[in-house]
Symmetry: D5
Subunit: 149 residues, 10 copies
């Protein structure tokens, strides 16, 4: 349990400390298929799956493994998937001040299979888009195209 | 038979009772690949497959397993696939007052294979889109992109 | 041979007789992967594959197995693939007066492999779009998205 | 219902009439992936899937489509899968007097998904082996190897 | 929690009551890919996956959905995977007195991914073979061949 | 070598002679996955892969195997992939006067793997679009959608 | 038709002329997935698929494309699949005097789909094994293992 | 180490010397799935994957293997993925003066799996688009469509 | 580097402490697809892949996550793949005194792709079998069958 | 051409120099999917594909990339596939004196597709087994099992 909620003791600042670099790059950077494991705050039942992150840098890029660390900080807490998605997007926005951020989370929820409904195969998808990635449908579509297969 | 039509004794209100939460989230929430089993009202022949649901919340989100429960309520009746699709979409609209709802149902119909035509491999796809998801082609396309594998 | 050309003795009216229902549904209905087998009228050589049908109902829906029957009526004749595609689309338009119809046929032609060229792997795709599905690129794109795996 | 039980009016003799040929061939002949649809006699619930047939001819071979017809005769009845498998094997043995016969049936049973247990993904496999294919483990293994993809 | 441990209130006798039939069949009957969900008794952490069951009948066959029910009885308890596998095999042996029984369980254990080791992709396979299926390597191999894709 | 360059002795006119039919069809006709084999004119090294052809007829359609023959005429020469693509598109335009033509060639080049770079897995894609298929982005997108698996 | 039966004018001797080489090799040589197209002699209906050939050389090996040519000689005739399989095996035995020969043919028969039975997905597998490959079960198994994916 | 950084001793000019040809072609040329291996400059940890390159020629085309060579020049250095992507795009722009260039790099980073985070399955995607491919969303989308499967 | 070699500070005893349970089970227990990452001791170049472990218990079973921990202890050192395989097998033998142990390691070696040979796709497989799993070919074969897909 | 035949200037001794290590390991070591490219000596036509190598060490193991180098030495010559397979096996036997060696080569031959026969999809498989891997059918089968996907 302690391990599953260790996200509370970590902050984005600690994690990103020193891993933000100046790089003359302004096109989308995507890290996809980051494994994620979390606990639903309503019934303490696990949900897990993958996180896909994209951002449009404004001359600042972050070490790639740091994006995975940010996922850890917010998934190792009692969560709902909608909030987890938003918190990851907000944390990246605060740290990098990028032109845009996109986060998509695809997860299986144990509550869908361990209780009465028993829908073994269903998956839940949530997304948060900020900045250019929210306003410009073409960027949004490009992100969605690139995270597929 | 009793089991197959038990949907008549259930209402969306009973099922959703207490499972609607306030959450500051306004991007699309999708639950895909919900297994579905129903009976065609014309020949009492089974049809079954998957339901994909998406909605754009207006600060209200629903417990994910409840969407699967709504599928159960309307599929455990004598149905036609077109009406089933619409009823699921309407029920979600009434319960959550979301900005938009999308429901896609993909099913195999026993009548396509147990009778003369014998088309073993064909599948039927129906959809209902309401609100923003009906009017805004970009949202619609985004939903269709995200439910594909 | 008699079996292969039995489509000449059948009409859409006979087949659809009594299988058109009033249903308050106006979104696209798709039946995909309907197996098809026909004979090329030029060399009496077989071609076969799959038919995908979509239509936008105007309050009238057809029993799903009837769409497969319409495919049978027109494929069990001496044909060319382009005409087969069009005839299926026209027959549905006449019977249902829908807002739009889309038919896509994907087939392997024996003439591509039994004669000199020997292109074992090639497939031919033809399509006919009528009404809204012809004029509105978004509906057309939605149909093409939904018939893909 | 009449269509589903039309197997009762057909006999193997009628179907095979004139389609048994002398051919100097004594190695295994396999027809695999024959689509099958039947009704469980206990609850009148459908089960369907594929039949794989192999036999070791003794100078007599049968027209291939006739093996599919034999599957039709016995599946278009009220059945249990174990008996269906055996009846197909027995019918081939009587008609061809082969050195050996093997029949494997893989099916999905609606009763596994429309009632309480709801195991959408499970499949049932039954087999009957007669003659050399029963006694000689190597022939048996060869048959099982060849029917796999 | 009550739902997850409801297996304690059920017995194999109750479940199989009246669903054992006399059928003249003595070859292997397999039900594969039965979805399973259970709780590890050491840390109350979920594990889930698929159960494959085979048995060699001695003139008695069981309704197929009953095998799925037996899986439910023993998985809806606090378990370890090794014991679950054995209990399913023992229950079938007692009920049907078959010539042999084989049970294979493939499962993902949450403890492998929610705690320190984080091996997201690993799966655990256990098996119990009784009677002929234990002693005769050829039957054993045949069972393993048939449960593979 | 003679075989590989026999394309020089053939002309589109000879090949299409008598295989152009009047057919009242004006939607896209596609033949995809036509196997192709050619020789790079710079190093006489083979390149091979698939050709996808689409055209929008103006009341004239061509026998499908003829499109494969046109591919043969131009690939059985010393070529570069860019020119091969264009020549196929031009030949179809001249012969059929269609409203539009699209040709996509995907090929593996031996020079990418037999020489120093050793990139075993890379493939080269070239395309030529003429008429409506060049000017109308929607037609172009529809063609690209339909040639994908 | 002339093209489809041109196999009658060709003999194995003509084809193999000069393409048999001395090579100190005595382990199995396999050429798999040779495309094949033929005509059933009973109804003049096409059947087509793949041929897999293996042989155990006795110091003589044959140019690989010649094995494909032998397939052509015997498939471009009126055939039944069982005889085609045997003729290919016999021709190789006569030409190379190998220690053993194995031929497996997997084919789809148009008669299974253009006539009443309509089993679109079934395939027929025949095999002929001669010499060591007939007598030694281990060689036979090795051949079957190597021709699988 | 010397091998891994040999890119420093090579220039695009040397590599392309004499391999730029005049060809009357102005549609997109794509070379996809070029294997790439590089070293991250921050921790000297490897990252590797695939590069996809597209350009819109202005009457000048480059020998295809040269594009692979340009990938080698810039990947055999200490790099970050964002900069590698940009350098490849810039080098092609300088050498060919094309109407547009697109470069997409998909890579696995060892730092994501050898250190604490242990995200074995995640991949990073970066892109640089220049000229027409940057400004025209339709060209951009076409490129992204063609590099997918 | 410290992280990559932390295996030296851990012992199997510490890790297994208290996680060995008495369970009346004597059939094979398999944990497959355990992700592994290690460093080759000759050039300090990474190799990584999957470990499959099987053992035949003698009334003692180990907590499943502990097998993954044993993989960590020996892979987080400077290694060669052959030795890593053997050390995992030996550690399990010492801790559990099982009737038999089997360990298979499949890995990609960076040295195969970052240096001259550039074989991007090759993988190395090593195995160690002890006790019954070494001496009894049937157990060995059963293990190999079960770890395959 | 020089590049394609550079294998003549290299010897196994040079390549293996110093890369043979003493390691207490006597179970099979396999390196599979080594890309290979060669030229057929009869028509100077390319053939290419994959090599799978296994050996049973006698206390001596070889650096893994050296096995790939041995493949290079013998494939970069004018060859026939049967001889290439044998030479690789012999070279490993001489260098390591192992208890057994197995080499399997799967290749596509350009001559099968650039000349008359045009069998685009066929592949040729050759193998050489020496020592224990030749005499012991179980080792042979184990090798063949492990090189399959």
């Amino acid at each position: 349990m302690q391990f599953l909620t260790k996200g509370y003791q970590e902050s984005t600042e600690d994690v990103l400390n020193g891993a933000i670099f100046d790089e003359d790059h302004d096109e989308m950077v995507i890290v996809k298929d980051i494994d994620m494991f979390s606990l639903c705050e309503h019934h303490l039942v696990p949900f897990f799956g993958k996180v896909h992150i994209g951002y449009l840098p404004r001359k600042k890029v972050v070490g790639l493994s740091k994006l995975a660390r940010i996922v850890e900080i917010f998934s190792r807490r009692l969560q709902v998937q909608e909030r987890l998605t938003k918190q990851i997007a907000m944390a990246i926005t605060e740290a990098l001040k990028p032109a845009g951020v996109a986060v998509v989370v695809e997860a299986s929820h144990m509550c869908m299979l361990m209780r009465g409904v028993q829908k073994m195969n269903s998956r839940t998808i949530t997304s948060t888009m900020l900045g250019v990635l929210r306003e410009d449908p073409k960027s949004r579509e490009e992100f969605l195209t690139l995270i597929k297969n």
